[in-house]
């Protein structure tokens, strides 16, 4: 059995761990509220843009459509844009994102396609490199970004579009977590390049006037649409990270509490046993006289 001193030290160390997890939990709860509000605030823009895109894309088709909509005509080289968090302490979130990304990669490879990775966030690097060391194309660092920033999304989108235009890949998929609640974040995969044709087309009977023409507007709008999607992914990531972190830290705090209780009981028992032994020794010594 551990000595009293050892037990005492153990209790002290668990207590300080509990303090850390509790603090992290409260910080995450506060940040989650902010992240959710930010995600909410971004929705009108994304909705409007998607609506305009839908009505325009249905009018412009065939060879006159911009490259970003039409695609390169090939379906061989795939790029997986995986959005992970930069910090840990958020339970299984990053593991789940990586799992989803690897699943997509396996499926694509099974179909005979080539796959490369564009990693956003630090936490996806190590696990993906382990399996696909030579296919990691770019690692984008977002660790100095405190809140999801549109400028950051812009930079990523510009880089992706430039690569696409150079023909480095034919299709890009975005893998990111969708925030459902603090308890569940679903990693999902959506195609971002070429921009998939919108399904819902609301036809209005009014004749809309365009300035400049439809193609020029679409040309201008498509990169913006991709930026908005990446920005949305960053916002979802932020909310997911804080949600997952809150849940994980809540569990950790509770576990630490249980451990402290158990150790305290053990400590008190050992102390009692030591006192009893001492007493017996004294009494036995007195009787012997």
């Amino acid at each position: 059995m551990a000595s009293l001193k050892e037990l005492k030290d153990r209790i002290k160390s668990v207590k300080s761990t509990q303090k850390i997890t509790k603090a992290k939990q409260m910080v995450a709860a506060a940040k989650l509220r902010k992240a959710q509000a930010a995600a909410e605030a971004a929705r009108p823009y994304a909705d409007r843009l998607a609506g305009v895109m839908g009505s325009l894309a249905s009018k412009v088709s065939g060879d006159s459509a911009p490259l970003l909509l039409r695609g390169t005509g090939n379906d061989q080289k795939h790029l997986l844009v995986v959005v992970n968090t930069d910090k840990g302490l958020c339970g299984g979130l990053n593991a789940n994102i990586v799992k989803e990304a690897k699943k997509q990669a396996r499926e694509l490879i099974a179909q005979g396609k080539s796959v490369s990775f564009y990693l956003v966030g630090k936490k996806g690097r190590a696990p993906i490199k382990r399996d696909y060391a030579n296919q990691v194309d770019t690692m984008y660092d977002t660790s100095d970004m405190k809140n999801p920033d549109f400028a950051e999304a812009e930079k990523i989108a510009d880089e992706l579009v430039a690569k696409f235009e150079k023909g480095e890949f034919d299709v890009a998929h975005l893998v990111y977590p969708i925030f459902k609640s603090a308890l569940s974040q679903d990693p999902t995969t959506t195609q971002i390049l070429p921009v998939p044709a919108p399904e819902t087309v609301k036809e209005s009977d009014a004749v809309v006037e365009y300035e400049p023409d439809e193609e020029a507007i679409l040309e201008d709008l498509l990169p913006r649409y991709i930026k908005t999607q990446l920005f949305g992914a960053l916002l979802e990531r932020e909310a997911s990270e804080q949600g997952a972190s809150m849940t994980a830290m809540d569990n950790a705090t509770r576990n630490a509490g249980e451990l402290i209780d158990k150790l305290t009981i053990q400590y008190n028992r050992s102390r009692q046993a030591a006192i009893t032994t001492e007493l017996i020794e004294i009494i036995a010594g007195a009787e012997a006289l």
Binding site: A38, E209, E211
Partner: protein, 85 residues
Amino acid sequence: MALHFELVTPSKLVRSEDVHMVVVPGAEGEFGVLEGHAPFMSTIRDGAVQVYKTEGGAPENIEVRGGFAEVGDNGLTVLAEHVED
């Protein structure tokens, strides 16, 4: 007699109000939008969107960058990537 005007950026809904007229710096020239304007879509160049709350009143200028304007049945919507407050 009021035009519903919305100004939206990726991070938030900046404005949503009823105004008299808005002058938008379109890519091919400025255009003013009053109530009942025909459906219209245009990219806009970087510049100031002038919002006239009342007829004849002084305009309020809002600087926008990277934008797009749409006039529909429900008024004017300006989508901008950046808005300078």
